[in-house]
Amino acid sequence: MTAREGPRGHELVEEWYEAHADRVMGYLMHRTDRETAQDVLSETFLLAWRKQRSVPDDALPWLLAAARRLLANRVRSDVRRQALAERISAVMDRAPQEVFEDRIGDREHVFRVLMALSEADREVLLLTGWYDLSAQQAAKALGCTRAAYTLRLHRARKRFRAALERRPASFTPLDSEVHA
């Protein structure tokens, strides 16, 4: 056992856990059942302990990337997709509709379009839109360079926007509001 794997290593894991476990758990719970999410979270922090020399100071993207890989090994993509659809459906049942339906389309349409995207497109959009990650953090969580992340996000946004606009002709074109 090295010095860093001793008590100091435990302190580090506890620090990471206190700081990031909620967000990693949120990420997992959006994609699987609670029991599996807890198992994968536990594996993620155990892996962080074992590989603590590889964990950067900004640990969140590393933890998300590890959780993402561990989850992919345990839960098939169609099951992850189904879990995600169920979590979003719960939100749609509870939240008021009027927030943006006059800008983009009704929530049901947005939901269907999002779920029809490829998993890769959906993942980059959700990492950006749901978890408040910087571009640098999201790139690390996805295991790619920042340039590759930017390109992936650009393409995913483009495909998502095109698919959103395909149906509701009565809604405001999205291009009119994007100042990217």
């Binding site: 909620d22 758990m25 949120g26 959006h30 807890q38 922090f45 719960a90």
Partner: protein, 170 residues
């Protein structure tokens, strides 16, 4: 609301997070479990041991499978159940497991996936959902016989996804 309606649309669908979970009883218990496991020597976990044993068996079985395929000229022999592996996911680097010894007799050469499905939770744990379909493909780049979850694909497509050749049934 930002000036980016595309990402706003995504944000609007965000489900509830897990705020406060870390300090819940489950969160505290999970941390304790992580620290306990961190204090335990690595290879003592039953799961790790099982996968390690399965990995070792895979090497033997994959090598043996090649011999059978060449010598027998048939895709599945009578004893193929003892030499085939079940993969946990449809991925080249997937965990592999040999069948439990008492499951070998359940192997049906006409439906190689059935025995993996039947023994799935025993091999991978009770919380692992059993795949609904399987594909039998040679191990990518090798001749060992592996049954993989098909992820809703047909056998040829599933095998192609991992760069493997399909094994004919029968």
């Amino acid at each position: 609301m930002t000036n980016d309606p595309v990402l706003d649309a995504v944000r609007e669908l965000r489900p509830q997070g897990a705020e406060g979970w870390t300090r819940s009883d489950a969160g505290r218990e999970t941390l304790r479990s992580v620290l306990d496991q961190a204090a335990t020597p690595r290879a003592t976990g039953r799961r790790s041991l099982r996968v390690a044993v399965a990995g070792g068996a895979a090497v033997v079985a994959l090598a043996g499978g090649g011999v059978v395929a060449v010598a027998g000229g048939m895709p599945w022999g009578e004893d193929a159940g003892g030499k085939m592996m079940c993969a946990r996911t449809l991925a080249r680097g997937a965990d592999l497991s040999g069948l439990p010894s008492d499951a070998v007799k359940e192997f049906d050469p006409k439906d190689p996936g059935a025995v993996c499905a039947g023994r799935w939770k025993e091999m991978w744990g009770p919380s692992e959902p059993v795949p609904t379909s399987f594909a039998a493909c040679y191990y990518p780049g090798g001749a060992g016989k592996v049954v993989w979850p098909a992820d809703g694909l047909g056998q040829d497509q599933a095998c192609a996804r991992i760069g493997a050749r399909p094994i004919p049934a029968g």
